[in-house]
Amino acid sequence: MKLEYKVEGGDFTAAGFASSQIKKILKQLNIDPSVIKRVVIALYEAEVNIVAHAYRGVIKAHIESGGITLTLEDEGPGIPDVEMAMTPGFSTATKAVREMGFGAGMGLPNISENADSFNIETIVGKGTTLTIGIKFK
């Protein structure tokens, strides 16, 4: 099963909609709740990252019998220093993002913590693509 959702940068009201939809589908597929939680937390953090940092993006979810692959491709500023961005507590979030309860510098580390595989490709001035893989068993 392949799903696709568009995400607009700056639209905090809609942030989490795609994660919510994918959660509902995984529940219908009777996936283990602890696995669903790992998927949606990684996905929600990544979705919020697009809203917080990028201009727009697309979330693609590929659900197979053994697991899920999430690809989050955004048009945005890119990440100049990925190693720094992966450091817990490091954040470049704006005041507006922090007022929404994010920007603690825990996003990427938390995605990594919940994923079985995690890859970041980024080009400064162009955008970032995250690929997150989580096995169902």
Binding site: F12, A15, G16, S20, K37, I41, G101, N110
Partner: protein
Amino acid sequence: MNLGDLCNLVGGTAVCGTARLGDSVEYAFASDLMSDVLTIKSTDFILITGLANIQSIRTLEMSDASYMLLCRGKEVTPEMLELAEENGIVIITSPYSLFRCAGILYSAGLKPLY
């Protein structure tokens, strides 16, 4: 701790999910930072927060957690209410500060997650 008792202890008002006030909760986590909340592995906790926006409800939804205590007399927005109702989330509001709520509930036996 029974949610109805919890609500009374903090001078609170249940604004959503009143049918679940008989539920019990053993642990609490107090934070305005949703990324911190998203690091919690457990689902049995009440979030004590001052963050009154839709992302606090989204965070509970993603965390499979069902209970929120909103402090400092913050107003629940219509978007929060709609999403909370959709996900069966209980929201209790309190006029007390986050510190005061946490202190009262800790003293009454609600346990910390860490």
